[in-house]
């Protein structure tokens, strides 16, 4: 075996092995056993030793290397647990009724309950509105100055944040939805757009190519 060949089969320095263990433990969703480390690391490595170095390095730090069953994992230091007490949220999809109600409010705000019902064609349950208000995605707007002075609903900052919008006006119009394939491409009898920009025939993006030929 030549010098060069030997070096190809030589294990990396222990400091490098320590880095490897560090990265693997960090990225792994489960605690990792020494055997598993050995399988993953280059031939000739000594994961148990690297692990010992790593464990010592993290002593007293904000996170530590701990043994969990047969495996090893990073865990935050117990004395800092109070900082981790964050609200972890289990996300579940909103119901169809809630999404539709929300969409109508976003596109037509301020919208009254009667308007929402007119557009959806069914009654809006009280729970749906309550849920959206509780989520802080909608709030009460001004009362409509029509008989009965109904309350209106508008979307909130939190709503815009969640959907990555700067304003509700940035929601794509019907025409854009259609061109993105999100809306069936059927002819509209007496189409009512949702605003002047939605159905403005000039609002259509001229495909780049045709522009070459204008002069």
């Amino acid at each position: 075996m030549t010098e060069q060949e030997r070096s190809l089969f030589e294990a990396p320095p222990i400091a490098e092995q320590e880095r490897m263990v560090e990265a693997i433990l960090f990225a792994s969703p489960e605690p990792v056993t020494v055997a598993e480390l050995e399988r993953r690391m280059p031939h000739g490595c000594d994961p148990a030793e690297a692990l010992a170095y790593l464990r010592r390095r993290y002593e007293g730090r904000g996170v530590r290397v701990v043994r969990v069953g047969d495996g090893h994992a990073f865990r935050t230091a117990p004395d800092l647990g109070h900082l981790m007490a964050r609200e972890v949220v289990e996300t579940r999809k909103l119901s169809r009724a809630a999404i539709e109600t929300l969409a109508i409010i976003a596109y037509h705000q301020p919208a009254t309950r009667a308007e929402i019902e007119e557009i959806r064609g069914v009654a809006v349950s009280r729970g749906t509105i309550d849920q959206l208000i509780e989520m802080e995605w909608i709030r009460f707007g001004r009362r409509r100055m029509t008989p009965g002075r109904p309350v209106t609903f508008v979307v909130t900052e939190a709503f815009l944040d969640h959907f990555g919008l700067e304003s509700a006006r940035d929601l794509p119009g019907l025409k854009e939805l259609r061109s993105a394939g999100l809306l069936d491409n059927r002819p509209l009898p007496g189409a009512m757009g949702r605003g002047p920009d939605a159905d403005d025939p000039d609002g259509d993006e001229a495909p780049g190519q045709t522009e070459l030929f204008e002069d």
Binding site: A23, F26, A27, S28, P29, E30, A73, F74, R75, T76, G81, H82, M84, A85, R86, E87, V88, V89, E90, T91, R92, K93, L94, R96, A98, I99, E100, L102, A103, I104, A106, Y107, I119, R120, G121, Q131, M135, H162, F163, G164, L165, L171, P172, L174, L177, R178, L182, L183, D184, R186, L188, P189, G190, A191, R194, Q209, T210, L212, F213, D215
Partner: protein, 265 residues
């Protein structure tokens, strides 16, 4: 295959065969091109010069001969390839002819420079895209924390929806909406029957030529939508009356005001 010899080539000469094969080789690639600009960029590579100093004239010729060959092979080229060909033919002729001082608009050189700019920009974006994809990527080259840290966590159910959900929901409702029975907005629509009734009452007084517009009912002239509706209905009613031989119509030229008068029996 080789044993059957050249006879199988429908009596074509070897030159024709080679020519056709060469052309086909190029055509096979048509599908691989993402539009005329992409094709032009590929052709420009044969010039092996900086895109800024490219010969647009030479490029135009290459493109046109490519399109000609495609046509000779009866390959259907998408319309935008043909539109580009027409424009390049125009540009080529402008580049070859001495400039016409009387002609307004951008010079042939400006147009050629713009095309060179577009090609350079496309090439630059391609390269940028390649560099972007060559970067270390999360989940492939580097990784985020793998294990969720559950300690001290207060679990909450959060209801959520994506922007796509929202847009699709809206699209769904609006689509349904569009298929509701169509109800006319009567408030802003003046019907022909209404117009006929009104005209019948008024026509008796119109012994002389009178502008049709003066027959529009009160309250229907200010708002453009109402005015349009009333004008259309009144005009239709007038035609109906003319058909029945009750009025005569006159218009001095296209778009001039229309006048009517009673037709005496």
């Amino acid at each position: 295959m080789a044993a059957t010899g050249a006879d199988d080539w429908d009596g074509m000469t070897p030159e024709r065969v080679a020519e056709r094969r060469a052309a086909e080789a190029l055509i096979v690639d048509v599908d691989g091109f993402e539009g005329p600009l992409d094709l032009l960029l590929t052709l420009s590579r044969t010039q092996k010069v900086d895109l800024r100093r490219i010969s647009v004239l030479q490029l135009a010729e290459q493109y046109l001969s490519f399109v000609d060959r495609a046509k000779a092979l009866r390959i259907e080229l998408a319309a935008d390839y043909l539109v580009m060909a027409a424009w390049l033919a125009f540009l080529k002729s402008r580049l070859l002819l001495p400039p016409d001082p009387a002609e307004a608009g951008p010079s042939a050189e400006d147009l050629a420079a713009h095309l060179a700019f577009q090609l350079e920009r496309l090439a630059a974006m391609r390269e940028a895209a390649a560099r972007l994809m060559a970067r270390d990527q999360k989940g492939r080259d580097f990784f985020a924390r793998g294990a969720p840290d559950d300690r001290g966590v207060v679990r909450h159910v959060r209801w959520t929806a994506s922007l796509l959900d929202l847009m699709q929901a809206y699209a769904r409702i609006r689509t349904k909406d569009e298929f509701r029975p169509f109800v006319m907005d009567r408030h802003h629509v003046y019907t022909m029957d209404e117009a006929l009734d009104r005209m019948r009452g008024l026509i008796g007084f119109a012994g002389d030529w009178t502008d049709l517009a003066s027959y529009l009912p009160e309250g229907w002239t200010a708002d453009p939508a109402r005015r349009r509706s009333a004008t259309a209905a009144t005009f239709a009613a007038t035609l109906e009356l003319a058909k029945r031989g009750l009025v005569e119509l006159r218009q001095s030229e296209t778009f001039a005001p229309i006048s009517i008068r009673r037709k005496d029996p």
